[in-house]
Amino acid sequence: MPPVKHVVKHGTFIDDEWLAVGDEDAVPGEGAVTVSFGRWQTEREALAGRNGPLGLRLPADADPAAIRADLDRFELIVLDFPKFNDGRAFSQARMIRQRFGFAGEIRATGHVIRDLLLFMARCGFDSFELAPERTIDDWRAAMREFSVWYQPAADARVPATELRHRAMAAE
């Protein structure tokens, strides 16, 4: 049995439907599965033809452009934080959303610490694999730490410049 994942999405813990299939394991014919980048590259046709939602686990050192043409095959992209201070997945997420227009779910895995969550949410991550000891209160506290931002990003938070000039236009 793989360890139970502790996934938060839309502000609440969810029962995770996605099965992470190892590179040596058989891929079940049905149900939602994620596969590694390597497996996708070698078994592309078979995976694309199966019946059920497909997710991709993209390592931090992969160039997102390598999956650009395949993005509509995936419902989920899992991006990895090998260490909390390895911020490549922030840019991978931005590139996949902003530049390649991916509309599916982006999930954060790896060393996902509380102090990164707000940045991740802003960069377009929808779901987060948290350490088992984290509670939903930790999540909520993290989301509340800052209420103002200077940059537009992949989320709906309105940046300072827009707030200012809306206010000025209303005067």
Binding site: F90, D115, L116, L118, F119, E145, H165
Partner: protein, 551 residues
């Protein structure tokens, strides 16, 4: 000066509250030292050799008198009555207790200051020409764009965990006083053929153990596109910069290994697809920020100013200070006065709390309440009436702040070195002091003329030794402090990296070696030729021969 609106203030208040909670968790044992480390670093709190050091951001080096007074109070209340101005135009306090840090951040927030991103692998305090807005010939005031970049880079969700620290500098005028080419991203404000103002964007400069000069990524980026373009540069670096070796993690290594053409192609490819969804920079926002940097209410003054010319004629010491420390102002009858923090035998960049309070008072009386910090670790009164210079000088002199040595051999940049820093291999401050003592004679300093000595206590090059006309690098040689000398570095628009003279010297031999270099220069120089020009004309050999000659 820029003033916070409710949004700016709220962010800084929320940051201070967040840090107070993090310190509480640490003190309660809920956070280990290891977990706490990155959190405190993001608020400028380092653990040094003897205590915590707090580095406070002074965005593009600009301080109000009220802010300067709070810095004086912090020195008095939480440190040993002094602070240290740095080569990043910031200030650091060296003797801070962890439990006091949240209160200090609250005190700072009350005067629109913070310590956000003064360390860590993120976009650091943005720097600019210290004479911005007051020097003649500027295309536009770089402080406007430095403030815009300060805001844009603060808590940037995508770029807060980069491969390594990231430094941006802006200037709007030649000569380049902001050392733009030694930065990760350098910005020259430019006017294009159509008369529009925008930016030449350079990337890949840096010092450290592999000094490199930044190269041009794009000749001209229009104002409205500045932030979106910077995001594409940052994105390529964040994705492709090395993370396996901290000595190869700066953007300069990436630009160098890809080559500037390949790097540029990647940036442009990303930018072509993201220019409309990146951070916009509307003209209304530029105008809102520019209004804060409008010139103060200058008086119309007839020149020459008689009282000033007379004082100069009658008071030789004042005249000397004017010659070296007063810079031409764009407004007739005004002057830029530089306060040297390099008294001979002192600690480069240090100011006592009492001095900071006095400087705040002088700024109110003589300079529209504003002070600037330079990357050469001095302070600037940007707007002084020529008629007030003599009075200001007398007051400065009474507080040990009138050393007439700007740009001279005793105006030395030095990092904190082994007296404070956990990374250092050797001491820097005592070396600076010994050299200053050797060249104490002010007539001799004036005779030698412009000569920039820069000292780093280790290869990380915080003392900018690579770009010193004479650079001094402390190294550890089997447990002994040794000093390697380089010649011919420069940080201006013709930037160059210094060349190693030869084998290193023990600390006590450094002043003799410097003296021999200076004597060689005086022998060889043509009329009025500064050190750097002589070096560039004759090369390193004559200096080498003299310094290493037997006996």
């Amino acid at each position: 000066m820029y003033r916070y609106d409710a949004i700016d203030q709220r962010l800084v208040d929320e940051r201070a509250a967040q840090f107070r909670e993090q310190v509480r968790r640490r003190m309660a044992g809920e956070l280990s030292d290891l977990e706490f480390k990155p959190l405190r670093l993001m608020n400028g709190l380092y653990l040094q050799l003897h205590a915590y050091m707090l580095r406070i951001a002074v965005p593009y080096g600009t301080l109000s008198s009220a802010q300067m007074r709070v810095l004086a109070t912090i020195g008095r209340k939480y440190d040993k009555d002094y602070g240290h101005f740095t080569t990043r135009q910031n200030i650091q306090f060296n003797w801070i207790k962890l439990e006091d840090a949240p209160d200090i951040l609250d005190d700072l927030a009350a005067v629109e200051m913070h310590a956000i991103q003064t360390s860590g692998n993120c976009i650091r305090n943005v720097t600019a020409d210290q004479y911005a807005g007051v020097a003649a010939g500027e295309i536009e005031d770089p402080r406007i764009y430095a403030e815009i970049i300060r805001q844009w880079s603060t808590l940037h969700p995508e770029f807060s965990f980069l491969p390594r620290k990231f430094k941006i500098a802006v200037t709007g005028v030649f000569p380049d006083r902001a050392a733009v080419k030694t930065h990760d991203i350098g910005l020259f404000i430019r006017r294009n053929g159509k008369g529009e103002v925008g930016f030449e964007v350079l990337a890949g400069g840096g010092q450290g153990r592999t000094p490199m000069m930044a190269q041009t990524v794009r000749d001209f980026v229009p104002k409205a596109e500045l932030l979106a373009y910077l995001e594409s540069v940052m994105r390529i670096y964040n994705l492709m910069g090395r993370r396996d070796n901290i000595y190869k993690a700066r953007i300069k290594i990436l630009v160098h290994s890809l080559g500037i053409d390949k790097f540029r192609a990647l940036v442009e490819e990303d930018y072509a697809a993201t220019r409309d969804s990146g951070s916009p920079l509307p003209a209304a926002e530029i105008a809102r920020i520019a209004a804060y940097f409008a010139p103060p209410a200058y008086e119309r003054i007839e020149t020459p100013v008689r009282a000033f010319e007379a004082a100069r004629f009658e008071d030789r010491d004042f005249a000397r200070w004017v010659t070296h420390n007063v810079v031409a102002h764009k407004q007739p009858g005004y002057a830029i006065a530089v306060i040297s923090l390099k008294p001979e035998g002192g600690v480069p960049g240090d100011a006592t709390s009492d001095q900071m309070d006095r400087i705040a008072d002088f700024a109110d009386r003589y300079s529209f309440g504003e002070v600037r910090v330079t990357h050469e670790q001095n302070l600037v009164m940007p707007n002084v009436k020529q008629a007030d210079l003599h009075a200001l000088w007398r007051e400065l002199a009474a507080h040990g702040l009138a050393t007439p040595n700007l740009g001279l051999i005793t105006d030395i940049i030095a990092c904190p070195g082994l007296d404070y820093c956990a990374l250092a291999n050797a001491r820097s401050i005592p070396i600076a002091q010994r050299i200053q003592e050797r060249f104490m004679d002010r007539d001799r300093q004036a005779l030698i003329g412009e000569l920039k000595i820069k000292i780093s206590g280790c290869i990380n090059a915080c003392g900018h030794h690579h770009v010193g006309h004479i650079g001094i690098l402390g190294v550890d040689k089997q447990g002994e402090e040794f000093y390697q000398i380089t010649l011919g570095g420069s940080a201006d628009e013709n930037a160059s990296v210094g060349k190693i003279l030869g084998k290193g010297f023990p600390a006590e031999a450094v002043p003799d070696a410097i003296e021999k270099l200076v004597d060689t220069y005086l022998d060889l120089r043509a009329d009025g030729e500064p050190f750097l020009d002589t070096y560039r004309r004759v090369g390193i050999e004559p200096f080498k021969e003299k310094v290493y000659a037997a006996g």
